[in-house]
């Protein structure tokens, strides 16, 4: 069990390494290119569409094969999200993400990989990315408290 934990950690490191190299090769770590893909102007650069065209079929095929197994190699069970509900936070959060992505040309993965490469704008982006995540947690807590208060104030 302890050894399995070590393998898990090593596997996650190797996956991160490979993922960053894929992001760099694909062009996703070049914010100017990302913005050129997102802005639909006369000189639109569609090439980044092919990142998903490259990634999704590979992973879709692997997913089918892997989910036939009882468990992953280094864990007791799969931890794949099962929810199917389309919720308001899903939509609002994704819309916010889309806007932020267009504003800076970075999404989280390329931001972290570019931070590793020492890109100055990525340093700034990642600091505020983490701050945004912390802010979301605080917001969640405040919203949960407000919901409790509302339920207590309900007239009898």
């Amino acid at each position: 069990m302890k050894q399995q934990k070590h393998f898990q950690i090593l596997a996650a490191f190797v996956v991160g390494l490979l993922f960053a190299i894929g992001l760099g090769i694909s062009g996703m770590t070049q914010p100017q290119k990302v913005i050129g893909f997102l802005q639909l102007t006369k000189d639109w650069d569609p090439s980044l569409m092919f990142v998903m065209i490259g990634a999704i079929p590979v992973h879709a095929l692997a997913y089918r094969l892997i989910r036939g197994r009882k468990s992953p190699l280094f864990d007791m069970k799969f931890h794949v999200p099962q929810s199917r509900e389309i919720t308001k936070p899903l939509i609002v959060g994704s819309a916010l993400f889309g806007f932020g992505w267009a504003l800076g040309g970075f999404c989280p993965g390329p931001g972290l990989a570019s931070l590793g490469a020492g890109a100055p704008s990525a340093i700034l982006f990642v600091i505020f990315l983490v701050a945004g995540m912390v802010l979301q947690r605080l917001y969640q807590k405040v919203a949960a408290k407000a919901a409790v208060r509302r339920s207590q104030l309900k007239p009898l």
Partner: protein, 139 residues
């Protein structure tokens, strides 16, 4: 353009392979915002692999940056304040929306998750509309 497309396809295939390795080895989805956000929770026993993954991302960026510095920092010329606001919104939005380009866009669509399909459509459409509008405003 053809060169860019081939690089995108090859890089994309590597990303798909990395996500598949994560699933077969650790049974996890490779959602970068989710894995990073989990690091802020300090849940015992659920910490080291997340840190190792982020370490791998940073390390992969470092190695590739040494070999091909041109893959990084193709600057937008946008002011620092805009990059900071972008980071803040992306951090907030990806946690609220439970995912980003990797978790929803690659892993979610590959397993035909309806939530991920919707999320990806929303962030692509909003991203394209915003970038197009920003281009019109900023030039």
């Amino acid at each position: 353009m053809l060169h860019s497309i081939l690089m995108a396809l090859f890089g994309g295939a590597l990303i798909g392979l990395a996500a598949s390795l994560m699933l077969v080895l650790n049974g996890r989805v490779t959602g970068i915002s989710g894995i990073t956000n989990g690091l802020l929770s300090f849940v015992k026993g659920d910490y080291a692999w997340r840190a190792a993954f982020v370490g791998g991302l940073l390390g992969g960026g470092f190695i590739l940056g040494q070999l091909h510095p041109e893959f990084f920092e193709n600057t937008t010329g946008r002011p620092s304040v805009m990059i900071a606001v972008a980071g803040l919104i992306v951090g907030f939005g990806t946690v609220l929306g439970s995912g980003c380009t990797s978790g929803h866009g690659v892993c979610g669509i590959a397993r035909f998750s309806p939530r991920s399909l919707v999320a990806t459509l929303v962030f692509m459409l909003v991203g394209m509309a915003s970038a197009t509008l920003l281009k019109a405003i900023l030039g």
